[in-house]
Symmetry: C2
Subunit: 315 residues, 2 copies
């Protein structure tokens, strides 16, 4: 699929950090950064932009904040073609945390929001644009949003100056027909804007749903090294690059980092396809219950987890 407009965003540190509270070594973050540069990746989302009032550094690593000093330690002046991104959650960041873009190593802020927060998301994204950043809005958990609420949100986004809007399968509960319906809806309501896709792998559909998004003309696509990310993880970057035929993308630097770091990390941080994530995804539920189960001693007692979830809904 050679389409020059397609931009690939690596969010290994940001989404993977949800599994270890962003406690990555500098060496690893630098390896990911170097590989993104060498592989021709367009954006690297290196963490969250959060307020120090919202989180304690005793509990989370520095990539929950993305201070300039931390960024510079990894990227220097970042004189590369790789743009740096941070995600901002509504209510977890103050307007004054967003310094002018010309003073920051960050190029883009992605605002993550639930549908009821859409007004705040538009305000924050436009605030970032006014500060000189690229900005996107990533509507989370759209698989649980009522049609009327979704369409009202899309009407508001259409009127904003935010140029990119993301289809996010937070629960890993969608398959290709749902992707098509939602992408078509987003495109209908948001003429002229770029649609992005961010998929989760609860049902082993993160890559195929990303491909579906690409087929339906989504031009911002998220992925992570070996799919590292919350719960079942994300679309694997190495798969995405093997699919995209644009010669600017190189797969080997990604494989080197997987080999040198990530295969070992997976033994400790157990993201990926596991039955509890399948069950939460198939039931269109937040993965938090499945993640808690996977942290417990009885994580392989699949039938008990099934019974617990099934008290509520019959799968």
């Amino acid at each position: 699929m050679f389409r020059e407009e397609i931009k690939v965003l690596d969010c290994t540190i940001r989404d993977g950090g949800l599994m270890n509270n962003w406690r990555f070594t500098d060496k690893f973050v630098k390896a990911v950064y170097d590989a993104c540069v060498a592989s021709g990746i367009d954006y690297m989302e290196i963490g969250y932009k959060s307020s120090e009032k919202s989180f304690s550094r005793k509990e989370v690593g520095c990539w929950k904040f993305c201070d300039e000093n931390d960024l510079r330690r990894i990227t220097g002046d970042n004189n590369t073609n790789l743009k740096l991104s941070a995600m901002a959650d509504i209510g977890r960041v103050e307007p004054e945390d967003i310094i002018p873009a010309e003073e920051s190593l960050l190029d883009m802020i992605r605002v993550a929001a639930y549908v009821h927060q859409m007004d705040k998301a538009i305000w924050l994204a436009e605030h970032c644009i006014d500060k000189g950043y690229e900005a996107t809005i990533n509507l989370m958990a759209v698989s649980t949003v009522m049609e009327r609420d979704l369409e009202e949100a899309l009407v508001d986004v259409a009127k904003s100056k935010v140029p990119v809007f993301y289809l996010v399968d937070s629960y890993g509960s969608m398959y290709c027909e749902q992707i098509e319906l939602l992408v078509r809806k987003y495109q209908k309501y948001l003429p002229g804007k770029t649609i992005g896709v961010h998929m989760h792998n609860n049902m082993q559909l993160a890559f195929s749903n990303t491909v579906s998004g690409i087929i339906y003309d989504c031009n911002m696509v998220d992925a992570t090294f070996l799919g590292m990310g919350r719960g079942a993880g994300n679309c694997p970057l190495e798969l995405l690059l093997s699919f995209l035929k644009n010669p600017k993308f190189k797969i080997k630097p990604i494989l080197q980092v997987i080999q040198d770091y990530i295969l070992d990390m997976q033994k400790e941080v157990d993201w990926g396809y596991h039955i509890p994530y399948l069950i939460s995804g198939a039931l269109n539920q937040h993965p938090r219950t499945a993640m808690k189960w996977m942290e417990g001693e009885n994580k392989n007692d699949l039938v008990s987890f099934f019974n617990q979830m099934n008290d509520k809904m019959d799968l």
Copy 2:
């Protein structure tokens, strides 16, 4: 997706046996059989029908042959709704190995063949039908078949009395658009016949390609417990059942067997998504080179494997 015509075939023992030479304990095979019965699975493919001249029992377990005595030890008279299937490879079975169906516990023989073997496959499948069995032809490695050869094979199959023809992604190298094109072609050339799908997971697309097949009206679908199968494995049965909404299917018996047996087996028989399988799939190559690499001491040296494969083709 509630469509009564859809038949699910479990091939855990047959395809999984490619990873351990069919050396399964009777206890495990019985557990899979019991779970298939309890879950409402339509067919269980319990192994291959092979000639004793072709393989030595010193090297392969009894499910490479599927003798009646071995079958009966597991299934008794099989007074259930589950039908039993065996696969036959062209050249590895003699006509006289196919006893009359009324003397056998097997209900179906699936003939696996490459495109140049299609005449022999039609002969053997019709021989099985004449002996009283259901029969299918599974055309392997279609991703490397030239269009002219494929269409000639389809014309011949159309004239046969074989009622089911399978789309098989032997190399795990296809994605949804290729599935659609091939299913449409099979349907065009084979009016009135049932199309089946058998997918491999090299690019994490086995389940999504199976869903695509179902969307395009394929009504025989293969899957295995936790995707156990050759190399990257198959479409996971638990995912398929969570997608199919036919109330006759139950997921819990499958989860119980995964919990009791298969999670442990996966530690020893290392099927599933691994980078060497992605590379062979993306290059549309037989997985044998990747499987050999995965058995070696340097299996995690991903870059060396990439370089070796890349001597031939640039990924």
